[in-house]
């Protein structure tokens, strides 16, 4: 008798297991395997949408440049505080690869006291070590570099006080920094300008604890500057161009992306004004079968960017998308597709030059 009762209870349990009735997106077959090519949509519950009266700013790694371009193209108010110098990011900070760089950007820009920075040189021209590639041919003197930096700080202040949507694309955990000032560089000294000095410069790979703490600090600081701000975090799907760790570049890439993904999740869970957008997941998903990568298996093709933007538009741009609906909004010929790759500037690419 008791056995029968036990069996009946088991049947009941089996028929109401915890996964029964969950949304189709929570299962691999219905969420991934059997989704039409180009239609993978990993966004389930966005925390906010972007409206036509919002002011959007971006910063981050190379991939952030794609997002900036698409947001502008969609007709949203994209904040450009140094338009005469750049249309790539909201201010001319260049690529902000690490979270520590993003914190440094706030430190430098909002500090009442200007701090010393390294000014790099090459062929008689001078470069800001914290954004060494924003002026293609450098500047004429160290003084000009510092003067430009002062102006840049004001522009950065505007980014964080005037925008109410900030999209931050997390790119790397590996960085080079100064042992003297503690400054973090987007690129190793000596690659595009300056000279590498092991006594002065050191390699740093931020681990998950450090990166998470840095990102939470950054989100809090941005919110303190503007309590209306919404932050959209995303992880760049672009792999490392090179690693300084004594291991394979692919192993370093997976490490770096995993750390950034965990940090983004921690920030998302801590702050209700932070959301996570899965650019990384869309591009690198098995569903895309590698088709979104260029021949070097690293750069993202416009087709992949279009998929990211399709999902982004659908969930975040809503009815105010100015024609950018849930589908692609324009046809690009293959020639333009290739052009799309070369239009993105990556400091990292200089490592192999």
């Amino acid at each position: 008798m008791s056995l029968i009762k036990q069996s009946s209870r088991n049947e009941q349990k089996m028929s109401t297991h915890p996964y029964r009735g969950l949304p189709s997106t929570q299962f691999w077959n219905t969420g991934v395997s059997d989704i039409a090519p180009g239609q993978l949509d990993p966004v389930t519950a966005p925390r906010f949408t972007i409206d036509s009266d919002d002011t959007v700013a971006t910063l981050g790694s190379c991939f952030a440049q794609h997002l900036a371009r698409e947001i502008k193209k969609a007709g949203f108010h994209y904040l450009e505080t140094e338009p005469e110098e750049t249309d790539t990011f909201s201010a001319n900070y260049g690529n902000v690869y690490t979270v520590e760089q993003a914190n440094q950007l706030l430190d430098k820009s909002f500090s009442p006291h200007p701090s010393e920075i390294e000014v790099w040189s090459r062929d008689g021209r001078f470069y800001d070590s914290l954004r060494p590639n924003v002026f293609e041919h450098g500047l004429s003197s160290k003084e000009e570099v510092l003067a430009k930096r002062s102006i840049h700080h004001l522009a950065v202040q505007r980014v964080f006080t005037e925008s109410n949507i900030i999209v931050f694309t997390l790119g790397l955990t590996e960085a080079w920094r100064s042992r003297v000032t503690g400054d973090v560089f987007p690129l190793a000294p000596g690659v595009s300008a300056g000279e590498f000095d092991p006594e002065v410069h050191e390699f740093k790979n931020y681990d998950v604890t450090e990166t998470t703490a840095q990102l939470i600090e950054w989100c809090q600081r941005v919110h303190d500057l503007n309590n209306q701000v919404k932050i959209l975090l995303t992880v760049s799907p672009v792999a490392l161009n090179a690693t300084f760790e004594a291991r394979h570049v692919w192993a370093s890439t997976t490490y770096s992306k995993a750390v950034l993904r965990l940090a983004a999740q921690a920030a998302y869970e801590k702050f209700d004004f932070v959301d996570y957008f899965p650019s990384y997941e869309i591009i690198t998903s098995p569903h895309s079968r590698g088709k979104y990568f260029a021949d070097d298996l690293r750069e993202v093709l416009p087709l992949g960017v279009q998929h990211v933007m399709r999902v982004f538009s659908h969930h975040y741009l809503g009815d105010n998308s100015n024609g950018l609906s849930s589908q692609v909004h324009s046809y690009q010929s293959p020639k333009e597709d290739r052009q799309g790759i070369s239009d993105v500037f990556c400091d990292e690419s200089l490592i192999q030059q």
Binding site: S33, A36, P37, Q39, V328, S330
Partner: protein, 289 residues
């Protein structure tokens, strides 16, 4: 192992796949006129022969099942294999018939453009019609959402033949555009179907074929209907507006101009025509908005 396949234009590739799988020359394929009279003629000439495994495309079944005179002639034992139809890549495909049969496009192919014929019948010029080939029109016509419906149709047709269409579709999705047109699959698409068909319905093949693509002849690539770029992009693919019919190629404008010219020649506006699928009013209204 000996096989005979009766069916549509896919029979050549089915036969090739069986030859490859079973390493046999004893495979005969018959491209059949699928009208009742056509099937009567075919099966009255081709008598069942001992030792052959008879395979019939599912597209013939509706006629066989509704015409006892045809059914009498069909081999008493046969296997049914699905004919692959999948329109998600080329949802603009339209068949037109008049009293003389299929109305051709400007390149003398059987497939027409639904947008083109609607523009033509509404009195638009080729240039005006060309402007309708854009994302807005495709969206309004549901062309961007055709995958799931196509997949469902295909899975059901596989199921009726005891096969797993989901498994097939997952494999095909790794090949990019696997259809030259709505019912012209690539050779690997047919090989994959035949491989599954064989594993379910036929004695085990002696050989496991690696890299089957290298051994297959493409019997259907002489006609290519493009995957329009706007549609392709939603499927994570690159598209084009380049038609192929034998040695002829045409871009969108040329395709439209030649088609309009041909339809003028046929006096199509004043001819009784049948459309498959039907050109319903809503589609026409959207196209000519």
């Amino acid at each position: 192992m000996k096989f005979r396949i009766h069916g549509n234009c896919q029979v050549g590739s089915v036969a090739d796949s069986l030859r490859l799988l079973y390493q046999t020359e004893d495979v005969q394929s018959f491209l059949v006129d699928t009208s009742a009279q056509g099937l009567l003629n075919h099966f009255s000439k081709v008598h069942s022969t001992d030792g052959f495994i008879e395979i019939i495309h599912d597209s013939l079944l509706s006629v066989i099942n509704t015409h006892p005179s045809v059914a009498e002639l069909v081999p008493t034992q046969f296997l049914t294999i699905p004919s692959i139809t999948f329109s998600a890549f080329q949802p603009d495909t339209q068949y037109i018939f008049n009293e003389n049969g299929v109305v051709k496009n400007g390149l003398q192919g059987d497939w027409n453009s639904r947008i083109a014929i609607t523009g033509y019948l509404r009195g638009l010029s080729p240039r005006q019609t060309e402007e309708l080939f854009n994302l807005g029109t495709f969206q309004a016509l549901g062309y961007l959402d055709d995958w799931n419906e196509s997949a469902q149709f295909l899975i059901e047709s596989f199921q009726k033949c005891g096969l797993n269409g989901t498994q097939w579709l997952r494999r095909m999705a790794t090949h990019g555009v696997f259809m030259h047109g709505i019912n012209h699959p690539s050779p690997i698409a047919i090989f994959d179907l035949v491989e599954q068909f064989a594993s379910v319905h036929l004695p085990p093949a002696d050989h496991k074929i690696a890299g089957a693509e290298q051994y297959l002849t493409d019997h259907l690539s002489h006609i290519v209907w493009p995957v329009y770029p706007e549609i392709a992009a939603t499927l994570g693919l690159e598209g084009t507006y380049l038609w192929r019919e034998g040695s002829q190629h045409a871009d969108l404008r040329t395709f439209l101009e030649s088609s309009f010219q041909h339809w003028d020649f046929l006096n199509l506006k004043n001819t009784q025509t049948t459309f498959i699928p039907s050109l319903d009013e809503s589609h026409q209204a959207i196209i000519t908005k």
